[in-house]
Amino acid sequence: MPEIFIDGERYEFEGKPKLLQFILDNGKEVPFFCYHPEMSAPANCRQCYVKVGTPVQNRETGEYELDENGERVIRWFPKMQTSCSMEMTDGMVVHTQETSEEVARAQKDTMELILINHPLDCPICDQAGECPLQIQTYKYGPEGSRFEVKKVHKPKRVELGPRVTLDAERCINCTRCVRFTEEISGTHQLTISSRGDKNYPITAPGMEFDDPYSLNTVDICPVGALTSTDFRFKARVWEMNQTPSIDITGGKGTNVDLWTRDNLVLRLTPRYNKNVNTHWMPDEARQAYRKFNENRISRPSIKADGDNQIKTSWNNAIETFAEKLESVKPADVMVLGSAHASVEENYSLMKLFSTWGVNDFHFSPDVKDGFGDNFLLTDDQAPNTNGVKALGFNEISTDDLKTAIKSAKVIVLLNDELVDRGVLGSEDLEKPFVISLATNETETSKSTDLVIPITCIAEHAASYVNVEGRIQRSLPAKETKYTHRKMDLEMSEGRLDRYGTNFDNWVNEDNKIDCTPTWELMNNLAKRLGLSVQFGSSREIMDEIASSVSTFEGVSFERMDDENGIQLTGITKEEVSA
């Protein structure tokens, strides 16, 4: 196998990797800005310099020539090479900044030049704390500045489009954003304008940067030049907790991180998963954070006189729920699962009600034909259509649903905005007693008789099966009234959790929602109904599902975590798009 020597260490490689990527893959570091693994390498930042040589071979025999000490004779490239664009060859010898003064010096030189016209306004820059320029300047940059002349001034606060704002002075002209629109999203909306140190990215005159994936440029911009218009100035990176999760606005199951502070989700960013979304995420999915914070249902409510809903106690809610069930036969109860809820929620609902005697379980698919783009947007608008189906919920068409509702006396509706998305009219829900288990106040929840607040994906650990049949899970990112960051081991901790004291406790009680996971609600209901159904944590529920539902065989939270999601067999992509 071909070999390469980096800083004196021998590595083997296959194929034709590029040197920088190989170095990074092997846990070493060389500073860089313009390179991005998903895009072409323009080698324009000149930061990733290394010293490279190749062994001298005898032209006839192909054997390596040896010096008097028996060491291979190395022919060094006369100039240092940018490792991002350097193709590796057998026997290559490389020195990074760790073993070459010359390389360290060259990197420092480039850094000095990058910084001369940079505003260095880190204290008011959104990128601070997660800024490759800031980080690499600390590690590889020069001390102080020799720049004693006037900096270049460029446009600031330029609204490139509806979602992205540019500060051209901070731009280091790495062209990542431009290449993104050329090579990834394909809209070609950005280009570099002007020349030399007057360069900056911009749209064509009169055009907007309204690319449906525009906010990815904010993520890949190695400086604070491109910022999210929505998130700008809202929070410092180090104040937030970062929790891995899954996008729930579509069927792709894009991996995301939820960024929280004071139990509010402040932004969503894509999380790398090479089998799903790689580095990217649609702009629309980033808006989901609002749903986690706004219009949340906190405490149960019940319809009192007329259409007026009033808050009620949990005891009363459970009691009413149970009484309504006991007043009818199981056949008069219609249970609707939801492709917008997790596998564990749907499962606990199904298990309780089948134990109680209900036989039919349905859900209403949420598919918008033609919405998908063969990239990260899918026709399927729900995150768990495959999951709810695999559990045994049957798809029900709008017409059948309307008919079925007419004969039902009690309807139990798991988080699904049937009225809001036009499947039902609120009048359809007038006759039966409708109990909705919901996260947000919507037209649907307002049309129901009893509303029980449940946790959203930002508050629970649960699994979702995407359109391709891949099961992935969320982690709780924000506390509810009944959970605590330091008690729940699944919860991420931020700087303040770890280093704060009780006196600077930053957790704002206002933002804790009075809600409970669906499975805990089912536990309370089972207890009241005298059923021997009892769920542990969602982790345990998944273990139970894995041993009882064939599609989920072998699935566990541990495996999902280790393998970054699991491709379920027995679910094919075609099944969903039907």
Binding site: N44, K79, S85, E112, N117, N173, S194, G196, D197
Partner: protein, 427 residues
């Protein structure tokens, strides 16, 4: 040099009235070289070998053997292959290709056609700087005439060889003269030089094998075919032979483009060819081949000739043979600032050392020019040159750094005299 330059008869821009007209050109032996190579006994390989033997060193600046460059083209695979002719001519002090456009465009066209035949190219592009508007128009006319006469197009002169020929005008960017930047520009993109490898011969225009040559380089080709490689190598300097267009500008009595053999003594060019220094002033220095080539002191020109070897020995380069002559009144600080201003303005901005370095160089020089500089700024300038040279995608950064490095080195007293004593040392 025993050579009597006055007896030299120009062959690139010969003294024939209206030679730019195709009939005049053909009546004077034009397109005969093309006919010769398209006849049966010349295969492409033979053309390449003849041109290689002539050692036409690229007149665009780098001085690379044209025939050798052609031989780097991969074997034809049936797909398109290109010849891109570089008429961007934007380096300050360089104005010789325009003479060819104006006085002998068909010589260039014929040379390009022969080159295309030798490399089996399917199309030729000539990229002419946008400011040369009238010559773009003239080139269009000349190409149309050549098409009409059957020298370009399908089955040229019944040989079975096909080639198309297109003209493109630049849009005012010096960087588009850099060969890979020119390819981007030809493709309709922003003129950002490409990272090499891959080299244009592997992946050039639209990803296909491409060779780039300067206009003057190609104009030598029909002459080589007509008179033989030996004739060419017998002219001028042994290692850098042939006729060359010297563009002489600055403080001389007769600035202009002069066709003479390579290897001319610089002092002969100034004193005799260009009519001597203006107003009888003393010679202070020259920039031999376009503004990027290192300046030479006037008192160090004895025995220095205009060819690659002699100029290397003297500490400079042949470049484009566009010689800028400066007299004793020239303010070297002002001159260098002005050159740096040019490179700052023309840097494409793609790579860090050049984008930032060219601006910084200019700003420091401006400060020195305005009397606000300090001695330590000179060290900083030299340091910056080292941070730019050889660290960029294309050679513009070197072109910007060399004048600074060598002008300060060779006229240091003048710079120091303009600087204040440093109040504190360079960090």
């Amino acid at each position: 040099m025993s050579f009597d330059w006055k007896s030299y008869t120009p062959v690139i821009i010969p003294d024939i009235p209206n030679l730019h007209e195709i009939d005049v050109y053909t009546n004077n032996g034009g397109y005969e070289s093309l006919k010769k190579v398209l006849s049966n006994d010349w295969d492409p390989e033979k053309v390449i070998n003849e041109v290689k033997a002539a050692n036409i060193r690229g007149r665009g600046g780098a001085g690379f053997n044209a025939g050798l460059k052609w031989s780097f083209m991969p074997k034809p695979d049936g797909g398109p292959r290109y010849l891109a002719c570089n008429g961007d001519e934007s380096e300050p002090g360089t104005f010789k290709d325009r003479k060819i456009f104006e006085y002998n465009p068909h010589l260039f066209i014929e040379g390009a056609l022969i080159a295309a035949y030798a490399m089996q190219c399917s199309a030729i592009y000539v990229y002419i700087r946008g400011e040369y508007y009238s010559w773009i128009k003239m080139m269009e006319k000349a190409l149309k005439d050549a098409y009409d006469k059957g020298f370009i197009g399908k089955n040229i002169l019944g040989s079975g060889f096909d080639v198309e020929f297109h003209v493109t005008g630049g849009a005012g960017a010096y960087i588009c003269g850099e060969e890979t930047s020119m390819l981007e520009s030809l493709e309709g993109k922003r003129g950002y030089p490409r990272v090499k490898p891959p080299f244009p011969a592997q992946k050039g225009l639209w990803g296909r094998p491409t060779t780039i040559n300067n206009i003057e380089t190609l104009s030598c080709v029909p002459l080589v075919i007509k008179n033989g490689a030996d004739w060419f190598t017998g002219i001028g300097a042994e290692t850098h032979p042939g006729p060359v267009l010297y563009g002489i500008s600055g403080h001389v009595n007769r600035p202009g483009v002069y066709e003479l053999p390579t290897g001319m003594p610089i002092l002969t060019l100034i004193e005799e060819v260009a009519g001597g220094m203006r107003n009888g002033k003393k010679l202070k220095g020259i920039i031999p081949g376009g503004s990027s080539t290192p300046i030479l002191r006037g008192d160090a020109l004895e025995g220095v000739n205009m060819d690659a070897d002699s100029l290397r020995e003297a500490g400079s380069m042949m470049g484009t043979a566009g010689m800028i002559v400066m007299d004793e009144d020239t303010d070297m600080v002002e001159m260098l600032w002005r050159i740096s201003h040019f490179y700052h303005h023309e840097s494409c901005g793609q790579c860090t050392p050049c984008r930032e370095g060219t601006g910084w160089l200019e700003k420091i020089l401006l400060k020195i020019r305005n009397g606000d500089g300090e001695i330590r700024d000179l060290e900083l300038l030299i340091d910056l040159c080292s941070q730019m040279e050889g660290r960029t995608i294309c050679a513009l950064a070197d072109a910007a750094a060399w004048p600074v490095r060598y002008t300060i080195d060779r006229f240091r007293d003048e710079f120091e005299a303009r600087c204040k004593k440093s109040t504190y040392a360079l960090a």
